[in-house]
Amino acid sequence: MNDIPTVWDWTGNLLDGLRITLLVTVLGTLLMIAIAIVLGLMARSHRIAVRGVARVVIEFFRGTSLPIQLFFLFFGLPLLGIRFDPLACGVIAFGLNYGAYGSEVVRGSINAVPKPQWEAATALNLSAWQRMTHVIWPQAIPLMIPAMNNLFIQLLKSTPLLYAISLADIMTKAEDFRKAGGDATLMYLALMVIYFVMAYAVTLLSNMAEVLAKTRLGQHAGLRSVFTFRKPKPAEEAKLVDASSAAGGPGGVR
């Protein structure tokens, strides 16, 4: 038992941890998308009360730091009688925090659909629901994907925080390895490579989604674009920064 473990010995542990990391990432991303859509739509409501609530929620979750929100959920809420298991804490904290950033992307993209499209939908006597589902959203979605992809990757990169709330994610497994006397340098490098691969996989998926969404609009860009790294052009970057400028942060990142 006194043997010093090698990274190779730890493969099984890392895979166990990876499963948790992936689970929280996927669930967190789904919650994030749902919250981003709800808050994003609320933020462009005509009713000032609805808009006000959305703004307060968005600015609150963007302005207070993610690790603090996570700790509040994990350590604070049980004292108020609300108890989530660690996995739910992680999913909720990531979903709310990045959902608040994402809502600005949703709002900005819907606003970026040209005005004549709205007017044409009205002129064709489409109901408000039909206008959104058949005209506005199909055009807004391709606009959202690049910025959303940045947020997905930010979320993925935040998952090592789970280590701090006693969830056995891949980071925790790596820490166990270090504490067992293993070579920390190699392990951290391996960990970074794993995260790098996951981040690239997320980008690939987003690129595919973008190609699909654009094909629906008749703007087929060719499949080669799927493999590109996401690199906002200066103009695109400026727009992202504009969409996320209020509390500053991951909206424009990456």
């Binding site: 302005g63 207070t64 004292l79 340098t185």
Partner: protein
């Protein structure tokens, strides 16, 4: 259980102290490192020095795609094994600075790309040496235009300083946890910590937005 105002008042001085002494100091030093290093990265990439540029691009892409927390642990726990021992604060500032330098490099690049070609040509026509071209002509225009974006990254970095708590820097989150551990009352310390962050980041963000509008209006 309710929010205990007396208790909150009691721990507030400690929290503010930790905030000023560690969080703010780490943020400012981190911004300084990121701003200088990011500019250096951007200029090196712009100069297109053969192998160096490709290596740097790969490095930047890698750092941006891997978690800050893992990078901090690498600096703090793995480097001593290679003979480099950093204090927690040093490791934290280096981690934050390098991580955000990789983001800021792209911001600087977009700023440099936006400087009109004519400015470069005029510098050549005036026989300005390369150093003066960069220092006096290109960078002042490039940096002014991207100041708001740089500021946004600075705020993002500020909100990631709680990560330093995990490498034992006694900053705000660490202090909040400590205060909570003394009394088993975690609601107030974390709520206060969050509010302190909000109170610092939101006004800064509003100021940046105003700066952005003013620059656009020109």
């Amino acid at each position: 259980m309710n929010f205990d105002l007396d208790y909150a008042g009691e721990i507030l001085p400690d929290l503010l102290m930790a905030f000023v002494q560690y969080t703010l100091v780490a943020t400012l030093l981190g911004i300084a490192v990121a701003a200088v290093l990011g500019l250096l990265f951007a200029v090196i990439r712009q100069l297109r020095i053969p192998i160096l540029t490709q290596l740097l691009t790969a490095f930047i892409e890698f750092v941006r795609s891997t978690p800050l927390l893992v990078q901090l642990f690498f600096l703090f726990y793995a480097l001593p094994g290679m003979g480099v021992t950093l204090s927690p604060m040093m490791a934290g500032v280096t981690g934050l600075g390098v991580h955000y330098a990789c983001y800021m490099a792209d911001v600087y690049r977009s700023g440099i790309d936006a400087v009109p070609r004519g400015q470069w040509e005029a510098s050549v026509a005036l026989q300005l040496p390369p150093l003066a071209t960069w220092q006096r002509v290109v960078l002042p225009q490039a940096i002014r235009n991207v100041l708001p974006s740089l500021g946004n990254y600075a705020i993002a970095m500020f909100k990631e300083t709680p990560f330093l708590a995990f490498i034992t820097v006694p900053e705000l989150l660490h202090q909040a946890q400590e205060s909570g551990a003394n009394t088993y009352e975690y609601v107030e310390p974390f709520a206060l910590a969050g509010l302190i962050f909000l109170a610092a980041s939101y006004p800064t963000a509003l100021l940046l937005r105003r700066l952005e509008r003013r620059l656009e209006a020109r």
